[in-house]
Each structure stands twice: as structure tokens, then as C-alpha cells.
């Protein structure tokens, strides 16, 4: 059967071009791959190759013709044994819209879904501690979480800089090498992009990597693997390629280590669909959430805080203390103003609430625990009670976690607000080294108190 050779599109945006030159005559024998014509676009001159073996039956568009639309037949190729007479008369060349096979994107507008996909699964209930409690540090809680998960699942391994023989740069992995050996507790070279990518490959290979970044500042070296490989591949594969991996390590400001070592990345990772982002405050949550993260079939960014590592909390001694990802926790009930915080800022928010109580203001403090998926339900319900909201975070203000919370509350609880949502954040500057400047750059208890007073001013008792 005669084959029509169509004017090809040579780029995603090309709609028409000039048929500059024919390199074959009617009657010429061509093989697949032979160059038969040159066409010009505004960007380039390109060669057109024959896509089948055969004989050129007829040239339908003359050399030099401009404005030849994509998909218009430009020549007819005869297969073995066909006569030129079988060729139909040329259609009006360079005219009309060539039909493009494929359904029109009619359905596009019909998709109704929230702009932010809040929860991909039903979050299981908050665990209830049944047994005894033990006071341990956040550091020990994180280590215990990894050790317990490693005992119950051979696929779980820990990898990172100084995690094995050195026992962890911040001693979070202390004791793991002795118990699990160097097959499962692996010191890496200083090679963040490399071991982050290796971890992603191991997760594709059905292992359960826990990848420690010495701090999340260094994960910037690896962010392509975290976003492009870990977060997006499930979607790009139509659901085939889950990536069950945990990236964990200290995040945010430590103390006097200046700009390159003091940054909160919560809003960076929370921005991207395909990741879960967790940032606990208490030791109990650190343990329960890390266990949940290791069991989660998705990539989880687990943001710890160096300053918190040494702080002690009561932690349930239950073997299976798992805190579900995606649930905030009301750590102090109140009625006048809601304060959201995560990680180290929860402690500051609680101290601020004490000071506010002295001035007659009852603050409700919510520990977000998970940044994404964000538990907007808990926040919105609290705002419906208090009518005022302050968000706290160490990170920069611009496009921060507080910005997103303010937007969500505006969308879901606008009518309940009695004052504009206010943010308490790190200052919009790289972290300075000098002690006085660093202190000014970080959000302090007094900043939260002052913001709460301003928010409540004139509304109290109204």
C-alpha cells in the first residue's frame, strides 16, 4: 500500500516549515534512513529521512514551498510492486489543519481536586501508651527507634557519614554497629549525592534505607536525588516504583555555626509532592515517628534538631510505640490564641504560653510534628475555638511553613478569624556568627509573646 510521507514536526513547538529542497526525484528508490528532503524552520535546517523502504511515487509539495503545515502529506512512497498510477491525486498541499490523532484534551477542565493533596491515606489513630514510661533523651529515642526496626526487619539498614565506627557525628547511631555489624551500619565517604542516590537505588531494590545526613545543610548536595529520584519516580512510573527511604539528620540552627550550617529546610521539602516531611519535638514523638517513617512505603524527610538531642522526655517503653505521620498534637490547651510550632520551637512556644498566662491570655499550643501531609484539621479546629493564630518556625519567613498554614486557615476558617494570622520566624537574613546577631536572627520566646499580645490586642474579651 502506498505510504504518505508527512511534513514532520521536528520540535515540540513546530507548527509549519519551509520545504527547502528535495534530495530525491520521483521514481527514486530509497531505503529507510535515507535523507530525502531538507526542511527549514525559524530555528534550524533539518533533514527528513525515509521511514520505510520503497520508491518515491510522487512529490506533492514543490521545493521552496513556505508555510507547509506539520502533518500535511509531502510525498508518496510506493512499496515493492506498486505502480505510480495507484497514487491518489495530491491533496491541496500546505492547506488546512492536518488531523492529529489523539483525543483532544477535553477533560482537562473537569478535574476537581484540592490544589494541595492533603492526605494520601487515612491516618491511623494516635497510639495510647499502655505500659511504663522511661525518661530518655531525644538522641536515645532516635537510636532505639532505628534499633527496634532493624531487629524486626532485615531490610532496614543505616548509612551515612560517621554513623558506624565513630558512633554518629552527634552520637545518634551509638551502639548500632556493635549490634548489627557493618553489613547494616555503613560508614560512607563524604559523598552526599552519591550515597543519597545509592540509597534511592537500594529502596527501588526493595531494601529500607535510613540515610543519615550529618546535617541537612549537606543534603543540598543531594537534593536532586531526593526530589527528582526519590519523590517523583512513583508518579512517573504509574505507581510501580515506590521508594521506601528515610533521609534523617539535624536541621535548623545549632549554635554559632553561621550561615552555611544553620538553616531550616522544612518548607523546601514540604513544597514537593511525593515526600513526607516530619519534624518532632519530644523524645516520644521522635521515637514513634521515626519508627513510622521507617515503616512508611514512601520517602520521608525526617528533620531533627541538634539542640534537642540532649533533652530528656518520658517515652513509653512499649515495644511497638509508633506515632502516625500526618497528625499534629495539641501539647497545651487554651482558648484565646492558637500557636503552631514544630521541633525546637515547640518548647519555646510552651514557655511563651506560660508567660502569656501570667498576662491573662490562654494560648493553645499545637506541635505540628508532621509538616507534610499537614494536619490542617487540628489547626482549623483550634482556630475555630480561639479565633487567632500565630505560626512559629526557625526558617525564613518568605514562602515558609507559616505562609502555607496562613493560606490553609484562610481557605478553611476565614470566617472564624478575629485577627490576621501572624508569623514568628527566623529573620530574612543568612545566619550571622556573632552571638548577639545570631540571637536576634532566631525567633525567641519573647518574640512569640510579643506577637501573641499584638494579635490579641483589642480583641480580648470581645
Amino acid at each position: 500500500m502506498a505510504i504518505e510521507i508527512l511534513m514532520p514536526a521536528l520540535s515540540p513547538t513546530m507548527e509549519e516549515g519551509t520545504l527547502a529542497k528535495w534530495l530525491v526525484d520521483e521514481g527514486a528508490e530509497v531505503r529507510s534512513g535515507d535523507v530525502i528532503a531538507e526542511i527549514e524552520t525559524d530555528k534550524a535546517t533539518m533533514e527528513v529521512e525515509a521511514l520505510d523502504d520503497g520508491t518515491i511515487g510522487r512529490l506533492l509539495v514543490a521545493a521552496g514551498t513556505e508555510g507547509v503545515k506539520v502533518n500535511v502529506p509531502i510525498a508518496v512512497l510506493l512499496e515493492e510492486g506498486e505502480a505510480a498510477g495507484a497514487v491518489p491525486a495530491p491533496a491541496a498541499a500546505a492547506s488546512g489543519e492536518a488531523p492529529v490523532a489523539g483525543a483532544a484534551p477535553a477533560a482537562e477542565a473537569a478535574v476537581a481536586a484540592p490544589p494541595v493533596v492533603a492526605m494520601a491515606e487515612t491516618v491511623t489513630a494516635e497510639p495510647v501508651a499502655t505500659g511504663a514510661m522511661a525518661e530518655i533523651t531525644v538522641r536515645e529515642a532516635l537510636r532505639d527507634a532505628m534499633a527496634e526496626e532493624m531487629r524486626s526487619d532485615d531490610r532496614v539498614f543505616v548509612m551515612g557519614e560517621e554513623v558506624a565506627e565513630y558512633q554518629g557525628a552527634y552520637k545518634v547511631t551509638q551502639g548500632l554497629l556493635a549490634e548489627f555489624g557493618d553489613r547494616r551500619v555503613i560508614d560512607t565517604p563524604i559523598t552526599e549525592q552519591g550515597f543519597a542516590g545509592l540509597g534511592v537505588g537500594a529502596a527501588f531494590g526493595d531494601l529500607r534505607p535510613v540515610i543519615e545526613f550529618m546535617t541537612f545543610n549537606f543534603a543540598m548536595q543531594a537534593i536532586d536525588q531526593i526530589i527528582n529520584s526519590a519523590a517523583k519516580t512513583l508518579y512517573m512510573s504509574g505507581g510501580q516504583m515506590g521508594c521506601p527511604i528515610v533521609f534523617r539528620g539535624p536541621n535548623g540552627a545549632a549554635s554559632r555555626v553561621a550561615a552555611q550550617h544553620s538553616q531550616c529546610y522544612a518548607s523546601w521539602y514540604a513544597h514537593c509532592p511525593g515526600l513526607k516531611v516530619v519534624s518532632p519535638w519530644s523524645a516520644a514523638d521522635a521515637k514513634g515517628l521515626l519508627k513510622a517513617a521507617i515503616r512508611d512505603p514512601n520517602p520521608v524527610i525526617f528533620l531533627e534538631n541538634e539542640v534537642m538531642y540532649g533533652q530528656s522526655f518520658d517515652v513509653p517503653t512499649d515495644d511497638d510505640w509508633v506515632v502516625p505521620i500526618g497528625r499534629a498534637n495539641i501539647v497545651r490547651e487554651g482558648s484565646d490564641v492558637t500557636i503552631t510550632a514544630f521541633s525546637i520551637m515547640v518548647g519555646r512556644a510552651l514557655e511563651a504560653a506560660d508567660k502569656l498566662a501570667e498576662q491573662g491570655i490562654s494560648a493553645e499550643v499545637i506541635d505540628l510534628r508532621t509538616i507534610r501531609p499537614l494536619d490542617t484539621e487540628t489547626i482549623v479546629n483550634s482556630v475555630k475555638k480561639t479565633s487567632r493564630l500565630i505560626t512559629c518556625e526557625e526558617g525564613f519567613p518568605f514562602a515558609g511553613v507559616g505562609s502555607e498554614i496562613a493560606m490553609q486557615v484562610m481557605e478553611q476558617a476565614f470566617d472564624w478569624l478575629d485577627a490576621p494570622v501572624a508569623r514568628v520566624t527566623g529573620k530574612d537574613v543568612p545566619m550571622p556568627y556573632a552571638a548577639n546577631l545570631e540571637s536576634m536572627a532566631l525567633p525567641q520566646i519573647d518574640d512569640i509573646v510579643a506577637t501573641a499580645l499584638a494579635t490579641c490586642e483589642g480583641f480580648r474579651g470581645a
Partner: protein, 357 residues
């Protein structure tokens, strides 16, 4: 490093590859069935890619589309000596790898047209396709990013004490990415069973390899880490097969990674929108006429008394597969609008893509 071939200092792009390592003596040819199978596999890739180019020209395939025409011998030769359970990962010039891994032409073509029947249900496109069933782990769009991922797959083989290798394909452009060397280091340090296959098709997009890569040869790029490497005539499927078998044995036996630099050539531009003005028509024609991998193997088959009828039969079979794939790719519906919001996160407590949580 005895196995490293000392290449000449300056390589000219487009120069016919030397049949140095891996050349196969006539008396140890693979079995005739294997030869015929490789011929068929290469022809399928060739015809599939030609059709993909045609569909792109018709506007039925969008975005970026990188064709593998000319390089068929590399993946077909290597996959012909891989073992069940071996894993494969590559970059975005991936259609040939998928077909060579046994993935269904219908599903690949339908992904190219962005349809429900595609391997990624229309959500990945040309550069992002996967098949867990066939141990094909992509299809990655960021140059070099597949290399640490390949090391991770190799790590998982070693962790489970499997006698499998991850074949990690990268191009001559990718070899200048830092993460490739991070990967070489870890692979050598931990004796990971990974075969790095550098498909040196002479050009990283429009930049000749001589203008982008310092040093003697890409096969030497692992020398600092003690990774053996060799150059192979990547246009000769038999040379590829022989070198591949030896390299895979090395990796499989616990000796760690290995590098094969495949000297190959792509006939088409970098992508469909590349007019390839950085090289001459004569250079391309010389490669096609003198070094075409399919023509070369056809000559071998003729000498093995494979009849023209047999070859014509293969030709017809391959054409039929491509025709069917094209019809499927044109008639499979576009993804349902509800697909926009699926496959972002897996449910907790459900199934992972690989099995039970």
C-alpha cells in the same frame, strides 16, 4: 589494571571504532539461535525507533524523544549475556533498553504517545518508564543520576547475597558528572556488583567527546578507583557480547565493578529537535555504510547459512510487532483525569510497589 586498553591520546569523533577488545573469532561464534535472536532484537529496536520518529513528526509523541538508532548492538549484546534477576538502569535514551529487557513494544509505544496503556500509564513519557517485572529500573531524565541508583540496586543484590549484577548504562556526556565518580568510589570501595556501561556515541548533545572529556579514554575513568575498564567496538554485537560476558563474570564473582566503554554512534540527532549540524553528513553515512550493527550481523548470518527467507520472516515479524504497537499507542485512551492525583504517595499499611510492606 592489566585489562585497561591504552587508547590513543586524542580521539576523533566519528572515527570508526577499533575492534580491539572483545572481537570474536569465527570459531567461537554464539549458537545460531542466539545470533538470530540478537538480529531480531536489534531490528526490533531499529524499526521501533524509526516508527517513534515518524509518530513524533506527526505530533503524536510530544516533548523530548531521544532515539537509539545506531546504538542497538550495545544493549542487545549485553542483555544477551545477562542472567535472570540482573537489574538494568539507564538514562533517557531508553527505548532500546526496554525492548532488549523484554518489555512489551505496545506498552512502550503507548507511553510515548501518553496513553493509559503505557508502562507509566501515560505519566512518565519517553524518558521515564519502568518495569519491575522485567527488572528495568528506568528511564531517568537527569544526566548521571541513574549511576548512584544503579549502585544502590547493586548494593541490594549484594545485601541479599544474590549472584546478580546491575547493568548501569550511561553516556559519554554523563561521565563528566561528579556523582558518577562518587559512584565509582563507593562501588569499588564496597565491591558492588555493578557493570558501568559507558555508551560513547561520540557526542554529548552537540559537543564532541573530545571537546568535553579530558584524559585518554573513558574506559580509564575508573582507574583511580582500581576499576578495570576496556574499550569495545560497540557497533559489533558479537564483540559487545564477548566483552559483556567477561565483565559480567567479573562483577558476579564478587570482584566488584567493571567499566565497559562502548564505542558507538547515534545516527539521529540528540533528540528529535536536534538538526545535528555539529557533524557532517559524510561522517554519519560512513558509520551507517561501514559499521551498521544490523548489516554486520546480517553478513555473519549469511555466512552461517541463514536463508534470506528466514531473514525476511524476521523482518515481517518485527514490522508486525511495530505496527501493532503503533495501533495500540494510537487507540489506547488518554489517561483518565482522575489519574492526575494518583501515584503520589503509597498508602501506609498497604502494598508497596515491590510487595507487602
Amino acid at each position: 589494571m592489566a585489562e585497561t586498553v591504552k587508547a590513543t591520546r586524542k580521539r576523533k569523533p566519528g572515527r570508526p571504532p577499533k575492534a580491539a577488545a572483545g572481537a570474536t573469532a569465527a570459531n567461537d561464534l554464539p549458537a545460531r539461535d542466539d545470533l538470530v535472536a540478537m538480529y531480531r532484537d536489534m531490528l526490533l529496536i531499529r524499526r521501533f525507533e524509526e516508527k517513534a520518529g515518524q509518530l513524533y513528526g506527526m505530533g503524536q509523541i510530544g516533548g523530548f524523544c531521544h532515539l537509539y538508532i545506531g546504538q542497538e548492538a550495545v544493549v542487545v549484546g549485553l542483555q544477551s549475556v545477562s542472567k535472570p534477576g540482573d537489574t538494568v538502569v539507564t538514562s533517557y535514551r531508553d527505548h532500546g533498553h526496554m525492548l532488549a529487557c523484554g518489555m512489551d513494544a505496545d506498552g512502550v509505544m503507548a507511553e510515548l504517545t501518553g496513553r493509559e496503556g503505557g508502562y507509566s500509564r501515560g505519566k512518565g513519557g519517553s524518558m521515564h518508564m519502568f518495569s519491575r517485572e522485567k527488572n528495568f529500573f528506568g528511564g531517568h531524565g537527569i544526566v548521571g543520576a541513574q549511576v548512584p541508583i544503579g549502585c544502590g540496586l547493586a548494593f541490594s543484590h549484594k545485601y541479599r547475597d544474590e549472584a546478580n549484577v546491575c547493568l548501569t548504562y550511561l553516556g559519554d556526556g554523563a561521565v563528566n558528572q561528579g556523582q558518577v565518580y562518587e559512584s565509582f568510589n563507593m562501588a569499588a570501595l564496597w565491591d558492588l556488583p555493578v557493570l558501568f556501561v559507558i555508551e560513547n556515541n561520540q557526542y554529548g548533545m552537540g559537543t564532541a567527546v573530545t571537546r568535553a572529556a579530558a584524559g585518554r579514554s573513558l574506559a580509564d575513568r575508573g582507574a583511580a578507583y582500581g576499576i578495570p575498564g576496556r574499550q569495545v567496538d560497540g557497533m559489533d554485537v558479537l564483540a559487545v557480547r564477548t566483552a559483556g560476558a567477561e565483565a559480567l563474570d567479573h562483577c558476579r564473582s564478587g570482584k566488584g565493578p567493571y567499566i565497559l566503554e562502548m564505542k558507538t554512534y547515534r545516527y539521529r540527532g540528540h533528540s528529535m529537535s536536534d538538526p545535528a549540524k555539529y557533524r557532517t553528513r559524510e561522517e554519519v553515512d560512513a558509520m551507517r555504510k561501514q559499521h551498521d550493527p544490523i548489516d554486520q550481523l546480517r553478513d555473519v548470518l549469511h555466512k552461517q547459512d541463514v536463508t534470506d527467507d528466514t531473514l525476511k520472516g524476521i523482518d515481517a515479524d518485527v514490522k508486525a510487532i511495530v505496527l501493532r504497537a503503533t495501533e495500540f499507542a494510537q487507540t489506547s485512551p488518554e489517561p483518565d483525569p482522575s489519574e492526575l492525583f494518583t501515584d503520589i504517595l503509597l498508602p501506609v499499611g498497604g502494598r508497596t510497589a515491590a510487595g507487602e510492606v
